[in-house]
């Protein structure tokens, strides 16, 4: 049970405080309700580029990192398709430095041309390092384009192509900032050795004066139900054939999401999972095989992905996966197997909640989804799922017409 206090400033900034006196540290986590899904299709990669620019100086403070490091702190940030999250950890007695830094960059960035030109290059190198200069690096670029016809999940957070990042202009940066980085679109979570009363004062002092801004109303095109299977074959300079297949699944808060999560565990969670045991160990069709989803807030993709043992025909491998899917659609899982994946889920949650940093980011995430208290009822939602739910949901999503198949072949 993760406890917290919540209050809202007049400018709409939501603040959550999680007190933990067992640690000497404090975490300040600021989540902005903007991700790659909120980008214009011709200016992709922007939310992530923007995350870099948030370290390039704010209106009153030339350098973000240096004063934080001087206060014994450390920080980082990440951007997903759904959201952007900034966090810093520092000795609790120095927490005001984090308020000073985070509030100033919420007030306004410096919008330095130099920072923009350098970070464009840095992000292009990040793009090259992870998505161009690595074998199979463009698998998700291809799969997203195949699986999504209208929803902005059709591009990765790094962007559709380098040119979108290269062409980012300072006016785009300003526009993006004042549209999304306003108190009313942000959630502040403070966790660690702090008292809510003190945090209230600090929040009022540093964040209170920032203009509220306009609430960003998200209206994204929702992906229509897919009613025809899509297939794509690509040849590339890679050593092994790879197989990737996805099926559309439910959005984050729907019951189907929790069922899909357990299905991925049954099929691909660990060395005793069905796909690994059958297709890697027994039939020796794949040298590795994973089943997962990204935890997307909007309707996401359940994915099965693996590399084929050299010499195996990819159609035969695909057929073997289809047999496993038919099995989960037709035969209810045993209570023992269902208990296993629920135990795993319980364990994952317990380990995740060990650090204050992870507790802070989870609270922010659940608050974004509607209510931080959802964090404490998560396990119950998994416990409610029964064998028939697994069968029903497998039948619902594992339709061929709902699937996207990528054969990524060695040239």
């Amino acid at each position: 049970m993760i406890e917290y206090n919540r209050f809202t400033l007049d400018n709409g900034l939501t603040v959550l405080v999680h007190e933990d006196t067992a640690t000497p540290m404090a975490v300040v986590n600021v989540l902005y309700d903007v991700g790659a899904r909120d980008e214009h299709p011709n200016k992709t990669g922007f939310a992530h580029l923007f995350e870099h620019l948030m370290f390039g100086g704010s209106i009153n403070i030339a350098d973000y990192d240096e004063p934080l490091q001087r206060a014994g702190g450390d920080n980082n940030a990440y951007t997903t398709n759904d959201l952007t999250n900034y966090y810093c950890q520092l000795p609790a007695q120095n927490i005001e430095t984090a308020f000073w830094l985070e509030s100033d960059r919420m007030l306004s960035l410096a919008f330095s041309e130099k920072s923009l030109s350098v970070q464009r290059k840095v992000v292009c190198e990040e793009f090259r390092e992870h998505y161009i200069n690595k074998p199979y690096g463009d698998v998700w670029k291809q799969m997203r384009q195949l699986a999504y016809t209208v929803h902005p999940y059709q591009w990765m957070t790094i962007g559709k192509e380098l040119s979108h990042v290269e062409n980012a202009h300072i006016d785009d940066v300003k526009h993006f900032f004042f549209k999304h980085y306003r108190p009313v679109n942000a959630i502040l979570v403070v966790a660690g050795n702090v008292r809510t009363e003190d945090i209230k004062q600090l929040a009022e002092k540093w964040f209170g004066p920032i203009p509220m801004g306009d609430k960003y109303i998200r209206c994204l095109p929702q992906e229509p139900v897919q009613d025809l299977a899509r297939r794509l074959t690509i040849e590339a300079a890679v050593p092994l054939d790879a197989f990737v297949k996805t099926w559309h699944m439910d959005a984050r808060l729907n019951k189907g999401y929790y069922t899909a999560d357990l299905i991925t565990e049954i099929l691909g969670g660990g060395a005793s999972s069905r796909l690994y045991q059958s297709l890697v160990k027994e039939q020796k069709l794949f040298s590795n095989l994973d089943c997962y989803h990204f935890g997307s807030l909007d309707a996401g993709l359940l994915t099965i992905e693996g590399k084929l043992v050299k010499g195996v025909d990819i159609n035969k491998a695909e057929q073997a996966i289809a047999e496993q899917i038919a099995q989960i659609q037709e035969q209810p899982v045993s209570i023992a197997e269902l208990t296993k994946v629920k135990n795993k889920t319980e364990s994952v949650i317990a380990f995740e909640d060990m650090s204050i940093m992870s507790r802070a980011s989870s609270l922010a995430m659940y608050e974004l989804m509607g209510d931080a208290s959802l964090m404490n009822t998560e396990l119950e939602k998994y416990q409610e799922i029964n064998p028939q739910d697994i069968v029903d949901y497998s039948k619902q999503i594992f339709r061929e017409s709902n699937s996207n198949t990528l054969h990524y072949l060695a040239k």
Binding site: L240, A271, S347, M354
Partner: protein, 426 residues
């Protein structure tokens, strides 16, 4: 009126009284030492069995790593599937890792389930049989994985730079080829297992919310095993560093980035320069605000990241600079690295920068002392390197008290480009 230009008052981390929480120690009946850190709020537990079974002790490449990897793949009463299913049923993770001197089995579980899990760990340690079929699958899949990794410039660079510094015959310098996998045989694994696990030397580390009967249960399942009886073989390896210092490899004609590694040999943790050099390393390339990051990423945008670090080895080690940079700016990146070395040799670090780095380092230490797993990791590092808690307090004192002049002496001693090996892999 709020003045946003001025940083709020801070407490210098230098003034913190950092205390390392003590670790409880006891021995099982067979003299196996156990280190225990009872802390944390979640009902979780970590137990690590560390064996002197690293690749230091193998006669043939990859035997130690393979033995370690296949520990979960079969005993005389359980198949690989049954072993995995047992741990996964309880939501537990059983991992194994092979290092140079040591090799580990690590269990993470909810505290309430440990009793069901210990007997199977004991079975693995005493009765692994390395089925031929499992070995064949492993060989095939590892070779496939290797074929993918060999396409990556950073993977190639990491292997080669170690070879240049330590020599291919040194455990820190060798790496694996397809042929090594082909030449493995089951008998060697069984022999290595018997000598270095079943009859080997073990140290146990536990952390988390420790159940009150953990000690007695550990003694029940592990206290009667024939461990700690045979002497650990004394094997000495000498460094055989490469003659040629500068290397360029084209691994992929179409590569758009180069993996750059620049490294020099460096003394082990017991050397008087080791801890002080950590401060110099932080200034140079050890954190986000370091000179290498500020110059090469934040000013020039040549790379997504550049870091320097002292490799975490028990023996004589290496000081390494590592980055992936745009293909057309690799040379410029390397020359900037040497420029930063030169500045550190020629100019004394100013007090402002030094105090920032000291505060940052001590703040990080404070954060690292938070949580049972971080604490036991620190203790493990000390125990396995024959250090004690005094090392921690010395290190804190050194961070607080080392002056800029002393760092300049170290820069002059160690940051000389002619002593570095340099490699670019495209």
């Amino acid at each position: 009126m709020l003045n946003r230009k001025i940083q709020p008052t801070i407490t210098d981390a230098v003034s913190f009284d950092l205390k390392l929480r003590t670790c409880e120690q006891y021995q099982l009946d067979n003299k196996v030492p156990v280190y225990s850190m009872n802390a944390g709020t979640q009902d979780v537990l970590m137990i690590e069995w560390v064996f002197k079974a690293g690749n230091w002790f193998e006669q043939k490449n990859i035997v130690a790593g393979t033995t370690n990897f296949l520990l979960k793949n079969g005993t005389s009463t359980k198949t690989a599937y049954q072993i995995n299913d047992h741990f996964e049923f309880y939501g537990a993770y059983l991992n194994r890792t092979c290092y140079n001197e040591t090799a580990s089995i690590t269990l993470h579980c909810l505290s309430k389930h440990f009793n069901e899990l210990l007997p199977v760990v004991a079975e693995i340690i005493t009765d692994s049989i390395f089925p031929e079929e499992e070995l064949i699958t492993y060989q095939q899949n590892q070779k496939q994985k290797l074929s993918v990794n060999l396409k990556k410039c950073d993977f190639i660079a990491n292997r080669l730079i170690d070879e240049y510094v330590y020599g291919f015959h040194h455990p820190y310098g060798k790496y694996t080829s397809t042929l090594d996998y082909d030449q493995l045989n089951r008998a060697e694994l069984i022999e290595f297992f018997k000598r270095f696990y079943a009859e080997g030397h073990c140290t146990i580390f536990t952390a988390g919310k420790i159940p009150s009967n953990l000690q007695s249960q550990l003694n029940k399942y592990f206290g009667a095993l024939p461990l700690q009886q045979r002497a650990i073989p004394h094997i000495q390896y000498n460094l055989q560093s490469a003659v040629e210092k500068k290397h360029q490899i084209i691994n992929d004609e179409n590569g758009v980035q180069g993996a750059i590694r620049i490294a020099r040999p460096f003394p082990n943790k017991h050397h008087p320069d080791y801890q002080k050099t950590q401060i110099l390393n932080n200034i140079f390339g050890g954190f986000f605000g370091s000179r290498l990051m500020s110059n090469i990423r934040e000013d020039k945008g040549y790379t997504y990241g550049i870091h320097s670090y002292i490799q975490n080895h028990m023996g004589e080690t290496a000081w390494m600079i590592s980055t992936e940079a745009g293909r057309d700016v690799c040379e410029a990146t390397i020359s900037e690295v040497y420029k930063e070395m030169e500045i550190l040799r020629n100019e004394v670090v100013d007090e402002d920068e030094l105090s920032l780095v000291k505060n940052y380092m001590l703040g990080t230490v404070l954060g690292d002392l938070d949580g049972p797993f971080q604490l036991i990791a620190r203790w493990k590092n000390y125990v396995l390197n024959n250090l004690d808690e005094q090392y921690f307090y010395n290190s804190v004192q050194l961070i607080k008290n080392t002056g800029a002049e002393e760092l300049n002496v170290l820069a002059k001693k160690y940051l000389n480009p002619e002593e570095f090996y340099e490699l670019t892999v495209i």
